[in-house]
């Protein structure tokens, strides 16, 4: 395994940990899969389609998201939004994230 591949794999591993929080944070308002992908991409978080779309369904099955099919421009789209359970967990996840940043800053500054 080359150094570049190792770096890529570890960066992917790092980013994987933030995807759930990023997704939940952007779904205070309804988004369909592609619009969410673009929304995250515009803010610098590129997520593979094969990762994001199944994740939305998984979060829905966990009760953190709700979805509804809507007919728009003559074709159906599935819209996702944070559920009540998701709204409850989101601030806790944000706190946790702030704690992780502070902890990592401490560790990396040594």
């Amino acid at each position: 395994m080359t150094n570049n591949t190792l770096l890529e794999n570890n960066v992917l591993e790092l980013r994987r940990g933030v995807i759930v929080l990023a997704v939940l944070s952007q779904l205070g308002q309804e988004q369909y899969g592609y619009s969410l992908l673009k929304l995250l991409s515009d803010q610098g978080l590129e997520i593979d389609q094969g990762t994001l779309y199944p994740l939305l369904r998984r979060l829905e099955s966990q009760g953190l998201l709700e979805s509804v099919w809507r007919l728009e421009e003559a074709r159906p789209r599935r819209y996702y939004v944070v559920s009540d359970a998701g709204k409850e967990i989101l601030p806790q996840l944000k706190n946790e994230w702030a704690g992780i940043i502070a902890m990592m800053d401490r560790i990396l500054s040594q």
Binding site: G33, Y34, Y53, R75, P76
Partner: protein
């Protein structure tokens, strides 16, 4: 049917029936969104080339479908250790049955004895494969219908580190084993070299002991090699007794001695018979054997020697391969 339809159909083939239509509908919607956006960005109508580019980004249908389904196992990581344990137990039982049957056959088979060894080994291999297949099916069924089996057991019983089994240090030399090995080798060498006349069957007749030598002249042509190998083993065992620990060098020496011993066993098996008894001498000794009984006894003895040599070759052969493999990988083993 256009490319998108074909892609969605292919994905559907790899999805569980329960969620198939819903996931297909969602992926179609996502692909169409991507296509529209790409067409807008590039300022050109949707065509096949654009569809190909977008579908390449989505990836192979089976990979896309797999990301929508939980990981599936024939035998999951929690059941695997139990599965492996069962396989080893069943294989050991089958090996024991094969060996018992083989030994029970000694003396009943004459000319075809070598063939019966091969048949027994083939029977063992076939039986083990068949048992393995059945065990895999049973565990696959358990995995399918009770995937949470391992999880539940873990939740029910709190793990206590103090209850962990003690594992002996693999590098530690067993002093009792070494002393036993040295004693056995010295006793054997003394017997072969200085009291070969004692290697036989003694009978009491008219107050006198009659002795029939059990080993042939052919056996004694191998004696220098036996002396060399057993002598080397005695020196190694003494060295290990002093050291108290196995090291890579001593493991290699032990492996080489074992390899040479297997080579010698192969030569003994392929060469002339090691058994010096013959039925005529037994009858002539006047101990009371009939020719039929004597012939049967000699045949039994010859077959026992053959089986013993064959077992040494097979079992030590496996052990040598295992040792060399572990030594080559840098893992220690006795």
């Amino acid at each position: 049917m256009n490319l998108i339809d074909r892609y969605i159909q292919h994905i559907g083939k790899h999805l569980p029936e329960k969620s198939r239509e819903d996931v297909k509908r969602e992926i179609r919607s996502l692909v169409e969104d991507s296509l529209e956006d790409r067409s807008r960005e590039l300022g050109r109508p949707i065509d096949e080339a654009l569809a190909v580019a977008v579908l390449k980004e989505f990836g192979r249908p089976e990979k896309m479908a797999a990301s929508y389904t939980p990981e599936r196992y024939l035998i999951g990581p929690r059941l695997y250790p139990i599965f492996w344990l069962v396989v080893r137990i069943v294989a050991s039982v089958l090996l024991a049955i094969t060996l018992v049957k083989l030994f029970m056959g000694i003396g009943q088979l004459d000319a075809n004895f070598s063939l019966s060894i091969i048949e027994s080994l083939a029977e063992f291999a076939g039986g083990t494969l068949s048992a393995l297949g059945n065990i895999v099916i049973i565990f696959a069924v358990i995995q399918y219908f009770m995937p949470e089996l391992g999880h539940e057991a873990e939740k029910a019983e709190e793990w206590n580190p103090l209850k962990m089994e003690k594992i002996e240090d693999e590098d530690q030399v067993s002093r009792v084993g070494q002393i036993f090995g040295i004693t056995f080798s010295v006793f054997g060498l003394a017997l072969f070299n200085f009291f070969p006349e004692l290697l036989g069957f003694g009978f009491l007749k008219d107050g006198q002991v009659t002795f029939l030598p059990a080993l042939s002249q052919a056996f004694f042509t191998y004696l220098p090699w036996i002396n060399l190998l057993w002598g080397a083993e005695i020196i190694l065992n003494l060295f290990l007794l002093i050291q108290g620990q196995w090291q890579t060098a001593t493991r290699w020496v032990a492996t080489v001695i074992k390899l040479l011993s297997v080579g010698l066993a192969i030569l003994m098996l392929a060469g002339p018979s090691l058994v010096g008894l013959n039925p005529q001498d037994m009858v002539a000794s006047g101990i009371g054997f009939t020719l039929e009984t004597a012939t049967r006894l000699v045949s039994l003895f010859k077959q026992a020697v053959t089986v013993t040599l064959a077992l040494i070759i097979v079992l030590d052969g496996f052990s040598i391969v295992r040792r060399i493999y572990k030594l080559a990988l840098g893992r220690n083993t006795k």
